[in-house]
Structure formats: C-alpha cells, structure tokens
C-alpha cells in the first residue's frame, strides 16, 4: 500500500478539479460527498499506509512518482518521503482535515458558494500533503505556495465585503516576505550543497559545514524567515488575527490546525541545519518565547471570539518554536499534534456558537449560554482545558515536555522556562475568560438562540473532544527522525518544578473564575487607572505592531506611490513615442504627391551619392 502514497494528494486534487470544472452546478449533496469524501478517502489511505509503515519497522520510505523537470544534475521530482515526522503530519492533515470538512458540510450549507468553498478546501489539503510528503525542497516549496494561495482565497472567501479582501491581501503580502526569504535560502542551499533533496542536503551540510559557520547560520536564518512568516511568529505575526475574516472552518483547518504549523514542520524537517547554527536555534527559542507572551497578553484583551482563538494559536505556535529552539524536536511535533486537536475543536465550537447566535462575534454580548449550547459548551470546556494544559489533558503532556526541555538548556534555560510558565498562566487566564464570559453569568442578549448542530457538525466535535482529552497518550513515532540530535540526557527536575507547572494553569483558571464568575475581583476597578487603560489599548492593538508597520512600511510605500503617480520610468518611453510622432510628421511633409518634386529628389540624391563617391 505504501506504493500508493501518491494517492494521498491525488484524491483531494481530483475533488478540487471536479468541483471547479462543474462550476457549482452540482447539487449540494454531491458537492458535499465529493468535498468531504475525497479527504475521507485520503485519510483511509493514510491510515492503512501508517499501519503498514509502523508495522514494517523501517525508518523511512521514498517513492519516486515522476521527474518534474531535469536541468543537468538538478532533477527535482514528485517524490514522496515518508518517515515518522511526515507520517504524523499526514495523519493530522487528513484526519483533522476530514473532520473539519465534515463539519463544513453542515456549517456552510446555506452559503451560495458551497462548491467554491469545498474546491478551495480540497486544493488546500492537496497542497498541504504535498508539502509534508515532499522529499525535496522544490516540491515542498510548491506545496508551501499552494497552501498560501488557498489561505488567501479562503480568507477572502466572502469577497463582497472589501475588509475581507484587505485581510486576504494582508495575509498574502506578509507571508510573502517570509516566502522570499525562504526562496533565497533554497538558492543558497542549492548553490552551496548542490542538491535540494532534503536528506542528501542535510547529509552534505553535516559534512561540509562546521558548527556555527557563516553559511550554516545564513541558511538557517533564511529558512527561519520562511517559517516565521508562515507560522505567524514575531515579527510577521500580524496577518493571522485578520485572517479570521474567513469562514470559521477555514480558521480551524488552515489558520489553526495545519497550515500555520508548516513553519514548525519546516524547521523540524531541516533540524540538522539548525543544529549546525546554534545561535539561530537559540533565536528560534527566543522568538517563540516573545511571541507566546505577546500573543498571550493580547488575547486577554480581545472581545471577538475568533480573534481570541487566533492570538491563542499564535501563542501556542510560540510554544512549538520554543520547543524547536531548545532542541526538543519531538516535543514540538507532539505539541503540534495535540494543538491541532484542541484548536480545531475550539474553532469548530466557536463556529457553532457564532452560527447559533446569528453571527455574533462579541463575547460580551453572549453570556450564560451553557444550557442553550450544550455541545459548544462541552467543546469549549474540553478544548480550553487542553489549551490551558490542565493536568492529564492532551495539551498538558506536550507543553510539559517542551517546558522540561527548555529547563534543560544550559544558560538561558531557566529564563525560557519561566517565560513559558508565565505563558501557561496567561493561557489559563485568557482561555477560561472566554469560557466564563460566553457560557456563564448573566445573558447579554441572543436569548432566542437555538443550537445549530446536525450530525455532520456534532460528530466531528465529539471525535475531537475525545482526542483533545486523550491525545496526550499517543506516542509520536518521530524518535528515529531526530535520534542523533536530541538531548536525551537524564535531567533531574525537582518535584517543585513539576508542581509549579501543574499549578500555574490552574491558578490562571482560578483567577479568571474570580474575575468573571464570582466577581470577587472586578475588571472595572482595574480599568479605572490610566496605566491599565493604556496597557489595555496597547495590548488590544496587538502591541501596536499593525500601527508600526502602517507607519514604517505602508505609509512610505503609499507616499512613494503617490510621488510616482505619473510614473517616472514611463516618461522615457513616452518621450520616444513623441519623438517618433514628430519625425513622422516631418517626413510626411515630403510626400507632396507632386511628381516633379519626387523626380528632383531622385536626381539630387543621385548627384549627392555620385559626388560622395568621387570625393571619398
């Protein structure tokens, strides 16, 4: 069955093609069957392949399908490389993807562009599978750009509202910055190592480059640029909150569970390069730390249910980067997986809330809804517990591993650990602020709401609930991928540290309870002071990053565009046109229609030529 690995991206691609070519003329039922069914088939194939692969005990399998292009020795192909890491990614993408597609068949049922939605979704899954299964960086880049395109298309899905179009363009342009950096990184790798096949490349890099050499640092930095753009980390994180303009299942699939973790996958895939550049690896950790704290504070102040979840996504990917940065590769991948479960659950739950409350996004207009929306409430409760790393939920195990690995780092380890723990506290605080404000307390409107949840919407939620609770027990089979680089040294962590890591999220939850349920503390009292007001405004705007970029990049660009409105370069070509026209006018004057005049010109020309011939 492993020989049929090419079927994985093929099913969604066929789904995309059939939906696009029929142009929305298919009945809704057929659209839903093709849209969700293609992903379901992929998942089945993926599951069979996974069982066979794990049963065979091999470390990796390569299947070459066909050569894409051949230029000299450079022959990137559609070759699929399957090892523990791509296996995990493949199962997440098809599994969670299928659940989200199933959910979408119910969620999007009233949308007039039903089939357009599923065609984009299928194309996305196909590209994403290409990305994680690619055995060379060129094919990976194809998938990388493909998911970027689908992200753009789906953020701007409701294109009649110009704001959504703006958000889509913003996401596209901001991630483009990272993509450019990554492309340059690929050029550098190819020119230095002579191959873009990932395994050969890593092998060559280890042989040719000394640890910490300039080239290794440059290559790792450029790849990191790409990862930062895709995974919405500092300083390119500004696009993700705006990406919530798309339909909610999109936010769940693309902007939480799969695409935004592509950066984490890239770094894990090329981890050898990062090990050769320890300074860059440490930078990864600090980027993750800074992002997770910043996004945590911002999530505390948001009112839009989806923006809170968006910032929490940024924050959780920050944890993954922290894990990558401290060399806990498998822990980062583990967190990627558990995060896919609980974040998909949270977003789909949010979708149910939003749909049931007539497209209400403001959490302060909800309140007391737990009886009315029981399934959404259960999703949020379980999802938030996992998100906040409540002991023995899935998020607890993965976050625990990352924090322990951070602690093991010599030097700045303790600071990374403390930052991570502070982030865990914030996570508990903001995730349960959301739960308490939406589902407890007094109702603030929408009393007529009735939960919208057919089988197609409820079933994925239930499955995801189970995985969010128990996903921590899954062993990710990535040990063989990272075996040679990982610090497996026995590190004794005192009982106190463990106790702190367990207690901190619960403290966050408790404080949030005191604020929003028992009202022991009041937010109004805190907000009375000017400092708090300023901080709230600052955090609410995402630490002013959008304003900063507006001033630093967008406005100068617009200024230049305005100066150059008449197009200076074009002036030169306009001059050419004018010159030609004037010359033409002059020469047409000589065409008088007078025969004698022509005869005279001929004679004069002859005389001139003969004279010149004689004289010269």
């Amino acid at each position: 069955m492993i020989d049929f690995i090419w079927l994985l991206p093929t099913f969604p691609l066929l789904g995309f093609l059939s939906l696009v070519l029929t142009g929305g003329n298919m009945p809704k039922k057929a659209t839903a069957i093709i849209g969700a069914g293609s992903i379901g088939l992929s998942f089945l194939v993926a599951a069979i392949i996974a069982i066979q692969f794990l049963g065979s005990g091999e470390e990796f399998v390569v299947r070459h399908v066909w050569t894409w292009m051949a230029v000299g020795d450079f022959t990137p192909g559609f070759s699929f490389y399957l090892d523990g890491l791509s296996l995990v990614m493949m199962l997440i993408i098809t599994g969670v993807g299928f659940l989200i597609h199933l959910y979408s068949t119910g969620f999007m049922v009233d949308d007039p562009s039903y089939s357009r939605f599923f065609s984009y979704m299928n194309l996305f899954v196909a590209s994403m599978l290409m990305l994680v299964l690619a055995d060379n960086l060129v094919l990976l880049y194809l998938g990388w750009e493909g998911v970027g395109l689908c992200s753009y298309l789906l953020i701007g899905f409701w294109y009649t509202n110009p704001d959504n179009g703006y958000a889509a363009r913003k996401a596209f342009v901001v991630t483009r910055v990272g993509d450019t950096s990554m492309a340059i990184g690929l050029f550098l790798l190819f020119s230095q190592l002579g191959t873009l096949n990932i395994q050969e490349l890593l092998h060559n890099a280890e042989e040719q480059w000394v640890t910490g050499s300039g080239l290794a640092v440059a290559a790792a930095l450029l790849l990191l640029g790409g990862a930062v753009g895709k995974s919405a980390q500092l300083p390119l994180q500004t696009w993700l909150p705006d990406a919530m303009a798309g339909p909610t299942p999109i936010s769940a699939l693309i902007h939480a569970a799969t695409m935004v973790t592509a950066g984490v996958y890239l770094i894990a895939r090329t981890h050898v390069l990062f090990e050769l550049a320890p300074t860059v690896q440490l930078l990864v950790a600090f980027i993750g730390l800074a992002t997770l704290l910043m996004a945590g504070f911002t999530a505390l102040t948001q009112r839009d249910i989806k923006r809170i979840l968006a910032y929490s996504t940024i924050s959780q990917i920050g944890y993954m980067f922290l894990g990558l940065g401290v060399g806990a590769w498998s822990a980062a991948v583990f967190h990627l997986m558990t995060h896919a479960f609980f974040k998909a659950l949270l977003f789909l739950g949010a979708g149910t809330v939003i749909l049931s409350l007539h497209h209400e996004h403001d959490i302060f207009k909800m309140g007391g809804k737990w009886k009315k929306l029981p399934i959404a409430f259960a999703s949020f409760l379980i999802g938030s517990l996992a998100l906040a790393a409540f002991p023995f939920t899935s998020g607890y195990f993965s976050k625990d591993e990352i924090l322990l690995a951070a602690l093991a780092v010599e030097g700045p380890g303790i600071w990374l650990w403390m930052g991570g723990v502070a982030g865990a506290f914030l996570t508990g605080l903001y995730s349960f602020r959301l739960v308490f404000v939406v589902f407890f307390g007094e109702s603030n409107g929408h009393d007529d709401a009735k939960e919208v949840a057919g089988f197609s919407m409820a079933a994925p939620l239930v499955v995801l609930m189970v995985f969010s609770l128990l996903g921590g027990l899954i062993q990710v089979p990535v040990d063989s991928v990272f075996s040679h680089g990982e610090a497996h040294g026995e590190h004794h962590v005192s009982f106190l540290m463990h106790a702190i890591m367990m207690a901190v999220p619960m403290m966050g939850i408790a404080i949030s309870y005191l604020f929003y349920v028992s009202k022991t503390f009041s937010t109004e009292k805190i907000m009375a002071s000017n400092t708090a007001k300023f901080l709230h405004r600052f955090w609410f705007s995402g630490w002013g990053m959008d304003g900063l970029y507006q001033r630093l990049l967008v406005n100068p660009f617009l200024f230049l565009a305005r100066i150059n409105r008449a197009d200076l370069v074009d002036k030169f070509y306009a001059l050419l046109v004018t010159l030609t026209r004037v010359a033409n006018g002059m020469i047409t004057q000589t065409q008088t229609g007078n025969l004698r005049w022509y005869a005279l010109s001929v004679a004069a020309g002859l005389v001139l030529i003969v004279t010149l011939g004689v004289l010269l």
Partner: protein, 102 residues
Amino acid sequence: MQTIPIEHGLILASILFAIGLIGVLTRRNVIFVLMSLEIMLNATGLAFIVASSRWGHAEGQVMFIMILTLAAAEVAIGLGLIIQMYRRYHTVDISLLSGMKG
C-alpha cells in the same frame, strides 16, 4: 578616318541628359514631361553608342536597340495613361494631380 573623340560624344550625351532632366523637372504639361524622358533615354543611348564604338564592342549597339524598344513600350503605356488622365481629370497638368500626398 577621323573618329569623333569619346569626350565629345559623352559631353553631348550629358548635355542632352541635363536638358531632358530639366524638362522633366520644370514642365507641367505631362506630354512634355514624357518627351523630356525620351530625350533622357536617348542621351543614355548615345553614351552607349559612343562607348561601344570607342572600344569596338557590339554590346553597346545591342543595348541601344534594347533601350529603343523599352522607350517604344514606355511611350505606348505613357500615352495611354495620359489619355486616361485627360478623360478623368480633364487636364494634362501634373502639378494639379497630387492626390497621393502626405
């Protein structure tokens, strides 16, 4: 036998050619233009004859006969055109016919 020096013949041909050219350039009446063209053709013919008799070659004579034939054909077509022109425009003044300008 006293032969005419080649220079004399060529000077005469040049003078004839110049007269013909001036006629072409200055006359308005298209019939005179045609006649001036004939003079120019004959001037070149004369130059051929003079040159061939100087070097004792027959090609010059042959060339002159060809020019003569050409001139006859030209006159036939030219006169035909002039008749058409007169029928259509009721004039033989070529300076009035400048419909192809600019």
